[in-house]
Symmetry: C2
Subunit: 221 residues, 2 copies
Amino acid sequence: MKVKPAANILSANDAIASDNRRLFRENGVFVINLMSSPGAGKTTLLEETIARLSGSIKIAVIEGDVATSADALRIEKTGVPAVQINTGNLCHLDAGMVRSALSEFDIKSLDMLIVENVGNLVCPAEFNVGEDCKAMLLSAAEGDDKPLKYPLMFHESSALVINKTDLIPHTNFSLEKARRDALSINPKLAVFPLSCRTGEGLEDWCGWLADRIGENRCLRG
Amino acid sequence: MKVKPAANILSANDAIASDNRRLFRENGVFVINLMSSPGAGKTTLLEETIARLSGSIKIAVIEGDVATSADALRIEKTGVPAVQINTGNLCHLDAGMVRSALSEFDIKSLDMLIVENVGNLVCPAEFNVGEDCKAMLLSAAEGDDKPLKYPLMFHESSALVINKTDLIPHTNFSLEKARRDALSINPKLAVFPLSCRTGEGLEDWCGWLADRIGENRCLRG
């Protein structure tokens, strides 16, 4: 008696994800699926990222949460369009939910769509939504044991943001161990230690994102 | 296309949970289901709780994790028996998994069995395992917006430990807002702000647990 998503649920999701991906490619929009535990700082990272990139890059955000529209309201204050999806008691976004939100945007006008997933270090990594890449946050306050304990998300992600580095002096978090264990699971992972509170490290992360969007523009003409 | 646990899966789980509950009652053991986000400090709280209570109370622990036996090894170092359940990519424990671990313990000799769930603020709250009560941790580093954004777990829990209060001066976390919002969802919640790092507040939490175990002894003779 398990509720692990069955193969047919995952393949049904993948079919919708493929449709989404085709739509994103036709419209030249780069799509990133942003994942983490609750409270690792996804929305704050987006606020800081938008402040640095939205002058030159057209961005929109889909917010996934079990309840409330708090995060979409925070994003809208930055001047970027945002749609909130409430999942009820479901612990992740799937391709169909993302699909249902797309009609709210003028997709053709966008350079980047960011999908902020439900705060959960497990199931979001199993459900593709049609994204170009997945990125994840790990908060330094969560501890350096997370890569080995929750390996799938580290394996599936292209980038790992290690957030709240300003808290490291007040914890027993080892940046070196977290990085080493994450890279042992996924040697291609781009790792960005940063603090949204102090701003340290944000330029590297934003530079990486801007490069991905630039490549996408070249590929798609 | 959703993978929200269907009613029949939840009712099948509840049937096994009822069997577990009967077994726990027959053997006079108090069972607590401990839940939180990844990295909120469940295992550290257990280490500190065991250090304060295991002289007078016979304790055992079931550890639920997606991967690794790291947490069970930490608990065994305290001298208390521990069994690790690895859930693969499943994001919560269910009653059958807990059932399968019970043969590893001499249940009759125990006063308290603690089930440490998979780190996840969503699905663990949906699956009863036969426990007497649920308790949850919220780390101050996760932010004070979590009660309204993840209401079910706050609703289902009897106790809320607000951990890592030593980090509050370095964050924008409002203890008052977190407490107020949690109590708005569940007015009966017993709230314990504490720091496993400094030890502040641990006595109140351990006293609450000891009282529950005492009540259980009286009820079950």
